[in-house]
């Protein structure tokens, strides 16, 4: 019947859907893990793998390597892939094919990452929940939603909690939208790393160590991250002590950071609501560690802090010399913290009314002991131009 319906749809709309497209429904229960993995392997492009309602108990990671497949559950609290007893693989679900849509299901307690998509262009994550249910712990997996080395990424309407690195991490990718997600109790709520043309908008990042991170790191196959917009997000109460394993770059994130920009070329931060981030609402810094990679630029360039709503914050910073700093600034640090390091005349810029403070450092990697903290004294911009960025419209359209 389904095929007939499909054919009818084809005739009536002349849509370009493959004729073979079919829906395979997998219910939880006996043998569900095998049935599900088998469906993922045997799927044809255009097929839908539908997850029934309930809890799927899995001992091994799942993987999908067929283009154009949709994996769809009954809702992020209804169809649950439970990896609590996972014995192998580095993530709950691995996607290595293009044009995949993942929606309306949950991944709980994977031993490594939650859902990783690698080299998977034009991917949509919608209505996905990834959660480590024991709360923030260093033994939790690193990333919840983890697209990497991909062009065209949309992560929307999803929830991630408990990641020991980043809840939503987009790495070495381009043309990205991360919108309308809720990220809580992760080390980093959302992290955009070594990526270009990313729009992070309408998300709620709360109770993480740091809310929204935009990083560019050396020594990776894809570098020169930038052209990133952080717009209309709620970034509040990011006060969870850092629980990342020490070797990871996010282990250096100070508890209480709202937005952290490290290196990168072009980041616009505007129209966000910041409240109760006790170290800094916005922090803009150069890459801090030594590196040996001639392709790498460690400076934060062309970073614009536009108008934002800044509530209480900076009143309990995780910084050396906290007491003296608080005293000097009258009990709370101003919202923007800059290291002061500029490559050229292209460092931090601010809109009228944005206040902050600077460490007045001059070179990437310079010791904090040489900091000479002082108020931020920049001439505000009257206007600026910044390209509109984000995932291709076709990704959003797929959800309609």
């Amino acid at each position: 019947m389904k095929r007939i319906a499909y054919a009818a749809a084809l005739l009536s709309t002349a849509a370009a859907a493959p004729l073979a497209a079919d829906t395979h429904r997998i219910e939880p229960g006996e043998g569900a893990a095998t049935r599900l993995q088998e469906a993922l392997i045997l799927a044809q492009p255009g097929d839908v793998i539908e997850l029934g309602e309930g809890r799927f108990t899995l001992t091994d990671g799942l993987s999908l390597d067929v283009d154009g497949v949709t994996v769809r559950g009954q809702g992020m609290d209804k169809s649950i892939l439970d990896f609590t007893g996972q014995q192998g693989a580095g993530e709950g679900l691995l996607v290595t094919s293009d044009k995949v849509t993942l929606r309306d299901f949950a991944v709980e307690n994977p031993k490594g990452d939650g859902i990783k998509s690698k080299g998977a262009d034009m991917i949509v994550y919608s209505g996905i929940r990834v959660e480590w249910t024991g709360g923030p712990k260093p033994t939790n997996g690193a990333y919840g939603i983890y697209p990497v080395e991909s062009v065209g990424v949309l992560v929307t309407n999803s929830k991630v909690s408990g990641a020991s690195d980043a809840g939503i991490y987009v790495g070495q990718s381009s043309d990205i939208t991360v919108s309308e997600n809720i990220v809580t109790f992760n080390v980093a709520g959302i992290e955009i790393e070594n990526s270009r043309r990313a729009l992070v908008t309408n998300n709620i990042a709360s109770r993480n160590t740091g809310g929204l991170l935009v990083f560019d790191l050396p020594g990776l196959p894809v570098m020169n991250g930038g052209t990133v917009i952080l717009r209309e997000n709620v970034v509040s109460d990011n006060d969870t002590p850092n629980f990342a394993p020490p070797g990871n770059i996010v282990a250096s994130v100070r508890r209480g950071t709202g937005v952290l920009v490290m290196a990168n070329d072009g980041v616009l931060i505007e129209d966000n609501a910041f409240d109760n981030n006790p170290t800094a609402h916005v922090m803009v810094i150069a890459y801090v560690q030594p590196f040996d990679d001639p392709r790498y630029n460690p400076y934060a360039r062309n970073v614009i802090v536009g108008p934002n709503a800044f509530g209480r914050g900076g009143d309990d910073p995780q910084l050396d010399g906290k007491e003296a700093l608080l005293e000097a600034f009258g009990g709370a640090l101003p919202p923007v913290l800059w290291d002061g390091i500029v490559e050229d005349d292209n460092g931090l810029r601010i809109a009228e009314g944005v206040t902050g403070w600077t460490l007045n450092l001059t070179k990437p990697g310079q010791s904090m002991a040489e900091a000479r903290p002082g108020p931020l004294e920049l001439t505000p911009l009257e206007s600026w131009e910044f390209p509109e960025v984000g995932a291709p419209a076709a990704l959003e359209a797929r959800l309609k």
């Binding site: 095998t34 993995q37 088998e38 993922l40 392997i41 045997l42 001992t59 091994d60 993987s63 999908l64 390597d65 996972q86 014995q87 192998g88 693989a89 580095g90 691995l94 290595t96 994977p110 031993k111 490594g112 990452d113 690698k118 080299g119 260093p138 033994t139 939790n140 997996g141 690193a142 990333y143 983890y146 990497v148 080395e149 020991s164 690195d165 991490y169 790495g171 070495q172 790191l217 020594g219 990776l220 196959p221 894809v222 394993p245 020490p246 070797g247 990871n248 770059i249 560690q289 040996d292």
Partner: protein
């Protein structure tokens, strides 16, 4: 090198009797259509790679081979074979992967136990079809009479040669590709000229199934013949090349880590010295660098090799226990590096 032959002889000995029979009887030919077709044959016997499933006597044009440094898989005993269709041959490509004609197959049998307790667990095949390689896993039945397609893999409780009781994982079809993939295409991993004995390659040339013995053949050390006095570096680099580099190289499954563990990689930062982790998560443990010269106990690479915990352990697939010999060699290599 000598030891490589020893291993090969050992492999041959396991099917010695059957091999003799096969030369006497009119052997059933290998099913070329099963290799080159589009289906996934349900039973291993459909290929007719062997004249006797249990004894593994190879059919005509099925050539046993051994690797100088093999991939470690929970201590499994492995038997390796190459099938070449009639009138075709392999061509050498420097020290790298031998180039296989369409219609060729690579067969690897995994076994545990000795003597009467010896059990075939799984047989993995790589089929070179017109549109590329296909990797399929087959699981042996309890009676050891047949192996059937295990598209979704499986788990089986076994005791390793080291005496550890583990849940051994047969990979699913996608997991086969996770390791056997460069730039999202399935490729063989093992039969690189540098990891094959020059003498075996010579035999293949003599038999008319390889064009030449390339320069750089057999340069990887023979792992099973290693002595405590051997230099650690070539052993360790060979071990990492064979066990890790299929993912940890540009275009491999772990390319985004930036860690490149191939034998030919000469840049110390690229193969881990002073390199910070990227997406290691708790796999990084307490440590900051993949390798800290002179400090094996501060090196993430060794920490992950020495762990069997999912989420920490490397390799992520095909490992439920720790290769103590591999750990010891890599430990000695890092410890001997000038600090």
């Amino acid at each position: 090198m000598k030891h490589g032959f020893g291993l090969l002889a050992l492999a041959c000995a396991t099917f010695g009797a059957a091999l003799a029979d096969a030369t006497v009887l009119d052997p059933e030919p290998v099913n070329d259509a099963a290799i080159t077709g589009t289906a996934f044959p349900k039973a291993l016997s459909e290929f007719a790679f062997f004249q006797d499933g249990r004894a593994q006597g190879p059919s005509g044009r099925v050539h046993p081979y051994a690797l100088n440094t093999p991939l470690w898989s929970d201590g499994a005993e492995k038997l390796r074979f190459i099938y070449l269709p009639a009138g075709s041959r392999l061509t050498a490509d420097g020290e790298g992967l031998l180039q296989f004609p369409v219609g060729a197959a690579i067969i690897k049998i995994f076994a545990f136990g000795e003597g009467a307790d010896r059990r075939l667990i799984e047989t993995r095949v790589l089929l070179h079809r017109a549109d590329g390689w296909v990797a399929l896993p087959y699981r042996w039945n309890a009676e050891q009479t047949e192996a059937t397609l295990a598209l979704t893999g499986g788990r089986i409780d076994i005791v390793t040669p080291a005496g550890e009781a583990i849940s051994y994982a047969i990979p699913n079809k996608n997991q086969c590709k996770t390791c056997h993939s460069i730039d999202n295409k399935v490729v063989p991993i093992g039969p690189k000229a540098r990891n094959l004995a020059a003498a075996w390659l010579g035999q293949m040339v003599k038999a008319g199934v390889l064009d030449r013995v390339p320069e750089g053949a057999g340069t990887l050390p023979v792992w099973a013949a290693r002595k405590p006095s051997d230099a650690a570096e070539p052993l360790a680099r060979a071990y990492l090349d064979v066990n890790c580099a299929h993912c940890h190289q540009p275009g491999g499954g772990a390319s985004n880590s930036g860690l490149d563990l191939r034998w030919e990689q000469r840049d110390p930062h690229a193969f881990g010295i002073g390199k910070r982790p990227v997406a290691a998560g708790r796999g990084a443990g307490e440590y900051e660098f993949s390798i800290v010269a002179g400090h094996p106990d501060q090196s993430i690479l060794l920490y992950r090799m020495a762990s069997a915990a999912p989420g920490i352990a490397m390799p992520e697939l095909g490992k439920a226990s720790v290769d103590k010999d591999g750990v010891a060699v890599v430990r000695r290599w890092i410890a001997e590096m000038p600090r």
